[in-house]
Structures are given as structure tokens and as C-alpha cells.
Amino acid sequence: MKTNSIFKLLLLSSIVFTSCTKEETITETITQNIFETINSDIIVSSEGNFGAKDGSVSYFGKNNTDVFYYENENGAKAAGLIQSICFGEEDAYIILNDVSQIIVVDKNTFKKKAIVQTGLGNPRYMTIVGDKGYITNWGSGSDETDDYIAVLDLTTNTIEETTIPLANGVERVVTKNNKLYVSHQGGFSSNNIVSVVDLGAGNSITTVTVKDNPDELFFNNAGELVVLSQGKPLTYGGAPDYPALTNTTSSISFINIADNTINKELVFTENTRATLMSYDNGNIYYYVGDKVFMINDNSTEISTSKGISVGSIYGMSTKQNYLFTVSYSFTSLCKFNIVNVSTLETEYSSAVGLGASKVYFIE
């Protein structure tokens, strides 16, 4: 066992080193700067492949990095497709989509504390309101009428019996003023609404129609709900990349949450798809093609000039003028890059598990 873990260590360090060969020394010093600037540790979650049970969690901190953090802390894999992680005050909730399970871990050590599975069906994302967790669930993937929100009692780590049924394809969920805002990306098909669940009014539901396939959503500095609608792919091109050639309109919608109306809707040009979006203090970043572009809260149109070239990525986050991306790869390790938005220089780079999709910050 011992030699095994030493071997593993060697392998891992070699991965980290090989992936940043040239910038090795720079990385070391600048790493410090980055972590000081953003003032938090970073967790990258990697989905792994559906059914292959090889999702992984990586940790990047001021003094330490661990590419296979969860496995090394727990002596076992998380064992599912890691859709997302929700961070509470003390605990973190790792949502395993394909095996319908949530692993409750200590936020600071990622040691497993409990598992939750009864009451989940294809769970996607979670948000916390008080001592309850609200988890979007597809139910059966092929059934378009059984999507719901499961309610997790955070004190007992059990799912409550009462669920909140919603329209098809629930995806991300955020909260404000005791309300849940749920984007309906559409699951295996497509949808075009954001549901608003008023927890203080008997879980009453209002819907806001946006463009097709709404995914990321957040509140901007003006308190608006900003939603990225990716647009629904219609046709695909040929080998080798099979890009989506045509799609329904992709847009960024700004919703007034006082009356659930749309303040403005910035649409992308025809057959242009934005697939990722992140927010950093007044700036909205989105990913189109192989570049990340930026507009601000007050912009009146989409900008697709002066982008940051990032290649093919599957996840991104932004903080303190840094752009954090994970490359798109499901057959071998992904690359985690940190780019300084002002200088456009890649200041840190490391390998992370395959299917990497989310970058989180732990303060």
C-alpha cells in the first residue's frame, strides 16, 4: 500500500510538473500572488464520464495542491458523475448525478460525513436557504413530467417527503429573498423558462420565459437576475469537431425580480452559441467559440470583440479579475488555467481530472 501511494504521489507531481514545464518557476511564485489576490482556496470538480464513476475533486490552496483531493482524503472515489458541489457554512454537498447520491463532506477537509440518496433522482444543482438544501432533480431522464426540487434537511441530512414539482429540465438554482430561481435548460430535450418558487408563499410558482436552454444564472450588482440562454442546437457540422452549425437564439436576459419581467435581453448573432457564463463584480463573462468575452451590467449589446483565447473549455469562473478555465476533455486529464484578465497571461496551470466542469472558491 505504501509504495503504491508513493508511486501515486510521484505520478501526480509529475503530472503537475509536465503540465507547467516552462512556467514551473513562475508558477510557484505567482501562485502565491493569485491565492493572495483572490483570498480563497480553489476546488475544481470534474464530472468524469456518465456511468464510469470516475468523477474527481481537485484542491488548489496557498500551500498545497491535490489533483485527486477527494480520493486521497477518503481512500475511495466519490464514485459518480460529479454534477456540481454546493457549499454551506461548514459542509459541502457533492452532487453525483448518475448514481443519484449526495456526499456530505466537511468543507475544509473534504472528509465524508454522510450520504444522501433516498428521494433523489438525477440530481443536478443545490442551493441553501436557512437549514434547508434545495436540489433540482430531473427524475427519470426520459420522462419530461417528473422534474422536481428535493428538499434536504441539513440538520439530519435526509430528504423531506414533500417535493416541489416543476416543469421539464430543471438545472441551476439560486436564491434571494426566500425565493428560488431555477433555470430550465431542458434535460435531454429543451425548455425556455426560469421558475420562481416563493418559499414564503407555499412554494407558489411563477415562470419567466427566456430564450431556449437557460443554464447559468446569478444576481448582478443591480440586483437583477442574469440568465444565459444557450440556444438549442439544431444541426451539427462534420468531422472532426462536429460543431453545432445552427441553433435557436442564444441570449443573456436581465430579469427584474420585483415583478419577474425582463428588463433587457441581449441576443447573440444568429447561430452563435454562448455556452458558459460567469460574473465578477459588475462584469459578465461568457464563452463563445474558443474565446471568453466580457460585457458589464450596463451594456446594451453583446460584445464579441477582444476576447480572451482559451481554447475548448467546459467550465469557467471569474474572481478579482482572474479567469479560471478548465479544458474540455473526457478521455484524458483536463487542464486548469488561471488567466490574468488585465495582462492576458496564464499565471497558473495544472492538470485536473477528466470531464472538469466547475471551479469553486472557498473563502
Binding site: 470516475d54 474527481s56 480520493e71 464514485a79 440518496q117 431522464g141 442546437p233 462536429y242 473526457f330 478521455t331
Partner: protein
Amino acid sequence: MKLCKAILIICMLWCAVSVAQNDSINRLEKVTLLANTTKKQEELGLKKVELSVEQVVKNPTNFTELLRYNSPIAFKDYGNGGASSARFRGTSATNTLVLWNGVSINAIGNGQVDFNAISASTSDNITVNSGGGSVQFGSGAIGGVVQLNDILEFREHQDFDLFTSYGSFNTTSNFFKANIGTGKWAVKVASTYNKSDNDYEYLDTRYKDENGKALKNINGNYKNYGVDFSLGYQFSSLNKIYFYTTKYYGNRLFSDGLPNPSAGTERNEDFNQRNLLKWDLSFNSFKQSLKIAYLTQEFRYYGDKEATEYNFGKSNQKLVNYDLSYRFSNYLRLKYTIAYKVIDGATNDLESRKRNGFTLGGAVFYVPTETLTTSFQIRRESNSDFSVPMSVSVAAEKKLNKSIVLKTNLSTNYRIPTYNELYWPVVGNLDLVPEKSKQLELGVDVDVNKLHLSATYFYIHIDDKIIWLPTGGTNLWRPKNIQKVVNQGFETSLSYTLRITKNQELLATSNYTFTNAVNKKTEDNLPFVPNHLLNYNLEYTYKKISLYAQGLYQSKVYTTEDSIDFYSIDAVRVLNTGINFTLFIKENTKLVLGGKINNIGNNTYYFTNLRPMPGRNYNLNIHYKF
């Protein structure tokens, strides 16, 4: 009903044609001998392993298990009884061809055979041929070929074979076989029935349920049954007609494995039906064989086992094959093959699609000296969907002395894209071309006393290997002709019988394969290919009691090309032991009572990530031959 009708019609046909023919036992023997040589010449330079019914009854649960412990094939199954795919020498499941009485039964959809969804226990002859065989069998014969044959013998005999077993997890495996010959007629009737709750406890204690209790393989139960009927009639020793039919039904739940087996909801049904009519006629120095086959396959996949709606894939194949061979002398024989195949496949997402294939083949078998046999074979398939490369093979076997034979076989082989790869909605890729391989084998067979050793070096170079890959941005997996791979290694098999005293005997058989499979574009090792794969059977018999042990070792495999521990499956070590007690033996009658302990070490082992195999388990069985 249809089946009965078909049989009736065939019987009537035969009665009508029944003409008095000469028949001589001498001639019959000669013909049989010739048939054997013929077959051997066609597989010249290749390595094969044949399995007997004694091996079948030691591993009766499923076909994967039987071959895992008795052949050089590596299997990847999704837990015990789950979907199972086979790969020879580090090639892929689509490069493993399975033949039922000479007819390909690989699925039209994915090009593979699920080795836990076919019944093999009633086959009279199971042969595992390693190496390329496209020149003989067509598409898919790159890694190797598994043959399931029913044997119809005309000599007067009545053989019955009855096997039943019961064991842990409420598992029962049974088969019945009757082979009868009357001189003119040969009949085989067989059936098999297998069933299991398959709810074994998981040994991996790192994972527990919500209450901290051990997890079980729930949602893993299976049930399947099959019936075979074959009939042969010989007008004379030179003129024979055969009809084979088989039907199979399987109903399985797919276990989800760790960490949450209760999330498993999948169910799968398989329906297979195969029919073959074969007519062999010899005249002068000619020998001809006409085969007409009709096969249907269907699977129904239920995402929710309780639901009535399902996804399906179904296909039917019609095949006509005509072989004509001419024997100039003992030294030279020519063979000519013409075949036509029509495939029709459909799924719930895909309207029926037809594919036709027309094949021409020729072969020369030449024996220049008494110790040297050579062959040159060529085959060309013209397919309605692609241009298929020509396959060629050149082979030779040289007998050095009484106990050593040197063998070589050089061949080109191919695998045509499957329906899924071409037509799957959205992701199917109509630009695909067939996979092509160039292969070399160098082998030696050693026979000394009761020791048989066969060792083969193999080199397989595959171009345009089809791989499903995720595509940037759209998150879809699509098949592409992307890889160039080279598989090299050696494969050995050994069998040894030692008669210690008059009452004591030791029997050992073993297969060992070393494989190095490399993606030539990246120079990385291919995933899921074990470097070392070893199995062995040791049996000690004292009078009526025999004790045996069977072992399996598969070295660590990586699940991605990165070769990192995180993406790997630990080495597998399993040991099974058993005892057989012959209660009664007399002439053709034999009654054996057996008991077996599988995984005696109670080891935790996996063939796919976190889909555990069973711990220690038990089985009692009765095998009655009369």
C-alpha cells in the same frame, strides 16, 4: 408455430427426395477425416483452443465465466451477469467475431456480442480461434473468433446429457441435450435455463448505505432460456442435408453497482432466433456446401424496469453462402466461395435500413512436402454502404519432427462500421470507413507425450480504428476513424496430463497472454488492455473423486490513455475450487455429483470501475450422461 411448420416442410421435402443411395462405412470415415483436414487447412497458422462439456459444467453460470477461465480472451462485464464484451489480444469488442454454426451473430447495432446474453452450454463444440480470420469469416475477425457449433452425427448412437446446478444467490444453471443418430438421420434437441437473484453482498467496505450497512447487488437478477433443434439427413455419405434452429430469450436487470445500487432501474430483454439450412454434396473430386440462414435479433431496453415503454434495436439477416472446393490431389485443393447477405436493422429512433453484401472468395491449399502445408486465401466483399478492403492471407505450417510444428500466418482483415456508428441520430457518422488491419503470427506447437504447448507471437496493426470521442462544445460522443494502433505480444496455451499411478491422474490447462497495445498517434497504451492475462485449471483425479482449482489473474488495467492510478482497475486475482464425485460409470452412462466454491479467497475484484463481482459463493451440481 412457424418453427413447427418449417420443420414439417423440410421433413416433407426430404421424404420426397429420398432416393436410395450407396452408403459405405469406409467412405464415411474417409470423408470425416478429409473434413477435418479441410477445416485445419483453412485455419492454417492460427492458434485455437477447444472447450469440452467438462469445462462447460465447471463454469456453467454464463458464457463470460466459461471463457474467462478457459480461453485467452479478456472480458469486461458490468458486474456478474451484466453486459459483457470480449477482446482478444487488446483489440476491441467489435474485433471479436462470434459464429453460430459458421454464421456471424455479432449485433448489427454495436457490432459486438454480449457474452452474458447467449447460451453456449448446449453447443457441442466451442472453439476459440485467436488471430485474424476475415478472409474466412468476413468483417470483425481481427482479434479472434469464437465458434459455437452443433454437431450432427449420423452414426447410430443416443447420447443424453443432463446438467443441473444450484447455488448461492438462488442461482440455477441447467441444460439438457440429446444427440441421436440412426444411420440416416441425426437429431439434436437441447435446452438451457438459467436464473439468479444475483443479489450478492458487496465486499468493498469503503461504501455503505445511508444507515452504514453493507450494500447488495440489488437490481441484478437475470433469467434466460434457450432451445436448440437440429436435424440432419444423409442421402449418402456424400450427400447430406442439415437444418439447425435455435431460440433464446433473456431478461435481465442491469445492476448499478457502487455506490448506490438502489439507483439501478434498468431492464433489458433479448430475443434471438437463428435458422440455418446446409446442404453438403461431394462428387468426383468436388465438394460443395450450400448454406441458407435467417437470423433475427432484438433487444428491448427499459430505462425504468417497471415501465412498459422501451427502446429497441432489431435486425434480421438473410444469408446465402456457397462453397465449392476441388481436390486435385492430396497435395493441392482449390476453394471458391460466393456469398450474399442482406441485413435489415431498425431501432426506435431509426427507420429500417438495409445493407447488402456480396462476397467472393478463393483459396489454394498446397502441400508441397509431407511436412509442409501452405495456404493462400483471398476474399473481397462489396458492400452497399462502403468499399471494403480485400482480405488476403498467406499461411504455412511446417512439421519439424514428431513433436514440433512451426506455424505462420500473414493476413489483412477488416471490420465494417456498425449501424450505431453510422446512423445513430445526430451523432452517427456517415463518413466512416472500415477498420483495416495487417497481422502477423508466428507460432510453435509442441506435443511431447501428454504435454501440449502452443505459443504464438502476434503483431496487429490497425488503421482507421473507430473510436467514440466527445466533441468540443456540443458534449456529444461521435464515432471517428481516428486511431492507428499496434498490438503486439504473445499468447500461449498449455495442457498436460500426467498419469501418476493407475488410479491417479493430474490434468493441467492454462492460457497466458502478454499484450502491449499502443495508440500510435499518442504512443500511449490503450485503455482496458491488461498486459498480463493468465488463467489455469488444475485437476487431480483419484479413482472416482476429482479435485480441481481454477485461477484467474488479470494485471491492472487503465481506463484512460493517461495511465494514472486514479483511472485504473486493480489487478484481479480469483481462485475457485471444486470437487466432482463420479457416483456411477458404465459404458455410456455417467453420473457425476459436483460441488464448487467460487472466489474461495473472498477477494474484492472488478472488471469495470466500481461494479463489484461476487465474493465467496457456492454451487452444487449433478451431471448425468446416458
